[in-house]
Assembly symmetry: C2
Homo-oligomer: 197 residues x 2
DNA sequence: GCAGTCCTTGACACTCAGTGCCAAAAGATG
DNA sequence: CATCTTTTGGCACTGAGTGTCAAGGACTGC
């Protein structure tokens, strides 16, 4: 807080640097050799930090992969809060999901590789689905609090939205990134008739 | 196969006995002391078998809890196959889910306790959601193979169905088992307008 | 009943994920 | 420069999960 030109402290920037390095190295090693075959030992050795430090930045080995996508998901929650309170729940959710795909566009090849990896690795898939479950609950709670929607209906809208995202994402991965993700999500949401819930 | 009165071999029955015992003891210990706090060591000690044997019956500590429900889920797959090929996909899925709730009625208090445990324990919840993901894929594939449904539509129907089940199950748990699960699932499926997909 | 075969079990050793603890190093602050 | 805080590394430990092998029952043919 002492130096004016620095928005964030030196330590904080260093922390982010180490975290990014670990994340990057892990993604590379795991993409090449497989998830189960890659040990935390190998990751920290390549990143130049101790094993103990790894677990200070990531709660588990799974998190080093999944957290990249979950950061995007948490952003979706704030999008919901930013929408007008009298907007139809389905429309707010649609905007949130669109925001999500926009983030994916930022690093399409990396997002595709990570998605493939997560879908194809049981341990990572389980963690990811659990994170998604938490988003669902969070989004449902926000919808409910905002416009007094019926709890079951709110949970259903959130659930169907993420299911549509799942299906669209699977189709995107199946097309090997050739299809447009935003279009895919839009069309899947329409197919799910989310606006009529 | 030598003895006529025995439908299944001695060994097979013994295997089932050991598995049931492990499953029962584990559920009891974990319900009392919590999932993380209960070690496999404690479970096998109470069941009177070796630690190694535990992992011959269950792939992981999570499986000893989750597998009870997944056995029910796998049955749902065969229900789909048993439905007439020209039936509307949504209706077949509805029947499969109904079959599932019927199984839950068989041991309501145990199903409730297990559901609570799984929903409240991240590790178990993640495994359960992954199993559900597999059912979804399996059901979607069957729907697609059966009546040549569009892949995306098949995946969506299966996904929405399981999401509705999730929501209904959450409401059931929230009501502490007071509500009727079958009704809850039916109404949630209606709310999701699954017949119109 | 008896030898041979198959399956199950227990015991040991091992790898690896994850955690608690403490001392040293590095950055922040006066 | 001295001090305080934060980060780091090293160590030891628990617990999940796996490979291996020898011993103990159960099923076969004789």
């Amino acid at each position: 807080m002492g130096c004016y030109p620095c928005r964030v402290s030196f330590l904080e920037r260093k922390r982010q640097l180490v975290k990014d390095e670990l994340s990057h190295v892990a993604a590379q090693l795991i993409a090449r050799n497989g998830y189960e075959e890659t040990t935390v030992e190998q990751i920290v050795e390549a990143a130049g930090v101790s094993r103990r430090t790894f677990f200070r930045y990531f709660r588990s080995k799974e998190d080093v992969i999944v957290e990249v996508l979950t950061a995007v998901g948490e952003h979706a929650e704030s999008v919901i809060d930013g929408r007008p309170a009298d907007e139809a729940p389905a429309l707010s959710v649609r905007h949130a999901l669109m925001e999500l795909t926009v983030h994916y566009r930022g690093f399409p090849e990396k997002a595709l590789a990570l998605s493939k990896l997560i879908i194809g690795t049981p341990a990572l898939r389980a963690r990811y689905l659990d994170r998604q479950f938490q988003w669902r609950q969070s989004v449902a709670a926000r919808l409910q609090a905002r416009s007094g929607t019926d709890p079951v209906r709110a949970a259903l809208i959130a659930g169907v939205a993420f299911t549509a995202l799942d299906v669209a994402l699977a189709a995107w991965v199946a097309s090997d990134g050739a299809a447009d993700l935003s279009d895919l999500v839009q069309r899947t949401l329409d197919l799910a008739k989310i606006d009529e819930l």
